[in-house]
Symmetry: C2
Subunit: 420 residues, 2 copies
């Protein structure tokens, strides 16, 4: 498809999405649930089609790294997980129509703030085909139409999954414009989405690596809800319980190293570097973690890689940790505010006042006391599935679940009030 | 100042603002109140300096239209109003630290969602010098540092007002970086702010006409909270109380025609065009309003200007109204969704079911039943002063007061939880 054909086609998708959004805005909770359950059923019913499509993607992907191939691969278990994921989203409380606040004015006006869908959401993602199901289901539940643009490597798989999602829409008599997949892998399509498709897209959510997110933030002319990076910190205060600090540091770093809530930097009070630090570093080393330490840390633990300035700014997403000695909570706060990414930070201490200081002073989306940073997750927060973790300041920070995919309007009820 | 000097100077302002934001984030409610009250006092104490500065601006503004000159002009009354406005903002409840939600997870994690300042807000405005005081006070109250860029016509006045605001900061031992005024009227400074000043600006708020807002939305690489336009509708349903419809239509259009909540289009059910429509149009005409009607309206009211397609899309901000006959609530909804700007719409009816249909179906920031659209205002909503009315979908819609100038973070308190 050439560019001259692409623009009208993309704009037509935008117009269809507006229609889809209008239908979803008025759809009852039951209708949306029906569509989602039917979509889950269709995913299972068409498992063979999806697997066949995925096999084509895998064949074409021979040049990819093993990690990327693993992201791309679907099997019976992953397809069942996709269907279950949609059913779980169907089971969440409907986020639309919630009364967020209500008050009465002296003149008798009754003002309610009520949750509403955002409208049309453009999702731009990379190679994981399951995002097609996840993102579509989260948008549908929150009453938003979506325009999905997956990676070229997963094009066949996404198309097959999208077909199942559309079957769900049809079963509930919802228009197909409510969940659309950009049919071309032409990168120009992404550029058009970022410009808003003639005013039809209300929000762009990029799901992918830093370079994708950076491109989106640079080119977008519509609001973006993005996850940039998670340089998460664990700070072991001098009054930390040593066993707790060991368990939290190990879990925060090593439970899963590739997620954004994984700890990347460990700060340890100089006073307990020997008593608390050595056992923590031994645990990490035994678990296969590479340790990069500052000078003080190098002195107490043998065979470290010296940490450089760059390490404090690095999101490894791997079994590597940067470790630094600090002089108390203020020093820890200063380090985190200087080098962190305002995602998730945790203090380990038995001292409540120090903990409160840490929790209040830091400007991060999530601040924790005596808990692993790996809890930075919509499911763990009890929000259900999430479309990602927002690292910006506006609209939503932290886990973005169905509630965060809504906006609100004010409903004002009067009995003839005019303004003086 | 040339561009090569400007960039480092602007970036230095950004860095100072980050320091200011850090101080404000930790400032107590009392400290912020103290700064605001001292600023109000300084405005009064330096009234003569401000008037002298304003006289210079007025002298240089001889080419401006009378309306623009009136916006620019300060007098004793306006200076007193500015000081009072700051005191009113000082008296509002502190929006920072509010617990927005709190819940406990089965594993014992205690999760609180707490309001926090956004950080550094860039305000770009036009000729009204009082915005310098308003915007700075609203940002300060909500714990945000601000970088103000006023119009070149009001440069001297803004500088004098800014000096008084800084006196307030000093009285409360807050850093001057918390309220900064861009010293140059070079337009390149605006471009630099829109790029975020090296990552220091979290949010841009433009206050001004459509062309300013359009430029900001086009060039900004940071989130924007903007007011685009208010094409507000009053819909007179066939079951409207005639006297109430007359009062609301007249007030919604004519109380003040230049505000964004003024009605621009009047929709009247065809069934009551004669009974309700004629008296409403007579009232409007008597009040000096120009009426532009569709064919049906032309038939029942003499000497109308025929309305064109363009009229349904026009924000007059003047004593002009477009009037159209519609066939019931669905037709009214369709018209508003097609031509409106999603700002504020009001239905006049005695029929509750029809009203609810209208309130639920429309995708506007504010929907009203039996009330004048001119209530679309932070003060009238009971929020206190507002920095404007947001017409976007993200973060905040409708009146943007101090609460809307905050974001939130999650505070998670545990006792050693690690993720399984």
């Amino acid at each position: 498809m050439n560019l001259r054909e692409l623009a009208p086609e993309m704009n037509a998708m935008g117009a269809a999405a507006r229609g889809g959004a209008a239908a979803l805005r008025e759809a009852s909770p039951e209708t949306k649930t029906k569509a989602l359950l039917a979509a889950a059923k269709a995913i299972r019913a068409h498992a063979n089609d999806i697997l066949a499509a995925n096999a084509k993607d895998m064949n074409a992907a021979s040049d990819l790294s093993p990690a990327l191939k693993d992201r791309l691969l679907l099997d019976d278990k992953r397809i069942e997980a996709m269907a279950k994921g949609i059913e779980e989203i169907a089971g969440l409380a409907d986020p639309v129509g919630r009364e967020l606040a209500r008050w009465k004015r002296p003149n008798g006006l009754d003002i309610a703030r009520v949750a509403t869908p955002i409208g049309v959401i453009g999702i731009i993602y990379e190679s994981r085909p399951n995002v097609t199901a996840d993102a579509a289901a989260l948008c549908l539940k929150s009453g938003n139409a979506c325009i999905l643009r997956g990676g070229s490597e997963s094009a066949q798989s996404s198309r097959a999954i999208h077909a199942a999602m559309v079957e769900g829409l049809r079963a509930a008599n919802l228009p197909e414009g409510a969940i659309q997949l950009v049919p071309t892998t032409d990168r120009a399509a992404v550029g058009m989405m970022l410009k808003g498709l003639d005013g039809t897209i209300d929000l762009i959510i990029p799901r992918g690596g830093k370079s994708l997110v950076a491109r989106v933030q640079d080119e977008a002319r519509v609001p973006v809800l993005a996850h940039l990076e998670g340089i998460c910190h664990v700070y072991v205060h001098e009054k930390a319980d040593s066993a707790m600090a060991r368990a939290i540091a190990l879990n925060a770093k090593m439970r899963r190293t590739g997620i954004c809530g994984a700890a990347e930097t460990l700060l340890i009070d100089r006073a307990v570097l020997q008593s608390h630090g050595v056992p923590i570093l031994a645990d990490l080393k035994n678990a296969g973690c590479e340790i990069r330490g500052d000078e003080a840390v190098q002195k107490i633990f043998p065979d470290l890689i010296p940490a450089t300035e760059e390490d404090w700014r690095t999101e490894y997403l791997d079994a590597i940790i940067a470790v630094k000695a600090v002089d108390g909570v203020e020093d820890a706060i200063r380090h985190i505010e200087t080098y962190g990414s305002h995602h998730t930070e945790s203090i380990v201490t038995e001292d409540a006042r120090t903990a409160e200081r840490f929790l209040n002073a830091l400007d991060s989306a999530i601040v924790m006391w005596n808990a692993s940073t790996q809890f930075a997750d919509g499911g763990e927060f009890g929000m259900g599935a999430e479309i990602g973790i927002g690292t910006g300041k506006l609209h939503a920070r932290g886990p973005v679940g169905v509630e965060q995919l809504t906006t609100f309007k004010y409903i004002v009820r009067g009995n003839g009030q005019i303004r003086g």
